[in-house]
Amino acid sequence: MAKKIPEINASSTADIAFLLLIFFLVTTTMNVDSGMFRRLPPFQPDNTEAPKIAKRNILQLLVNRYNDVLLDGEEIDVKMVKPRTIEFLLNANDDPTLPEKTEKEINLLGVVEISKGIVSLRNDVGTSYETYIAVQDQLAMAFNEVRDMKAMSRFGKKYLNLTGEQQEAIKNWVPMQISEAEPKKVKGK
């Protein structure tokens, strides 16, 4: 008859597991990084000239070092950036002071009118990062709202509920054109 192997006492596995558990509990950080994704334009040497763009196609946004927001030279509240940008992008009444539109054929949508509008964002060295993000946020809100509107009119759904292909089409219809001015070096700091 085979010799009986005594059973291994397993009562301490719980303790070991607890020890490990507590270690991971303490070292765990669950926060996922979040933020606003942007793509920078490629680097250009100083001597290249900026492309000429008609004045009506540019929404001039300036954030000065006192954190005031100036839109086409007029001081406005940060919260007003969104409605003004939407108005600028849509140009519903074909106002001659608001951006032109070009016709372009887009997959899934056919020939549509695309706004030529570009948002130009310039900030001062002394602008606080918080204000800058607030302005960027307002702009993102404006673009997302316009995309939502367009998505609603064509597909009857909000932008986020569309399929990848449809999203791509709407993205081409409302391109997010934010141009950040090249920083100017001020002499003597």
């Binding site: 558990l21 669950m30 990084d33 979040s34 933020g35 606003m36 602008t127 990062y129």
Partner: protein, 156 residues
Amino acid sequence: MAKFKKSGKRETPAISTASLPDVVFMLLFFFMVSTTMREVTLMVQNSLPQATQVAKLEKKALVSNIYVGKPIPAYQKAYGSEPRIQLNDKFANLEDIVTFVVAEREARNEEDRNSITNNLKVNSETTMGIVTDIKQELRKANSLRINYGAKQKVSY
């Protein structure tokens, strides 16, 4: 009276703890999987601004972090209270960014090198001067994908 007295010994049996290790192991695996260890010790103050249109950063392996902010009080004596850049575990100057980007690129697989996102974690009180400088350096290093670190704003 004696009628109702229970006869014989009635002890409650001991609760079996045999499944306790299983329960604990389950928890353990949950935390092991969800854990991310903090890779760097922060040497700068880093409270991010809030925004409504934020998205979560996916593919953590392809994110390289650049911290900007005032040095924390322990370092203020040595490094002053002007906003500084922190790369990995060291304070860095603007010129170091290009080297940093190249090193980050070298550390990734060939096919992933063009999809590295630079996560700018900038303290909300910082001024834009240093941020613009960093952006220029990143453009020079041709690492164009950036993420402005921001927290989800709680709706008001």
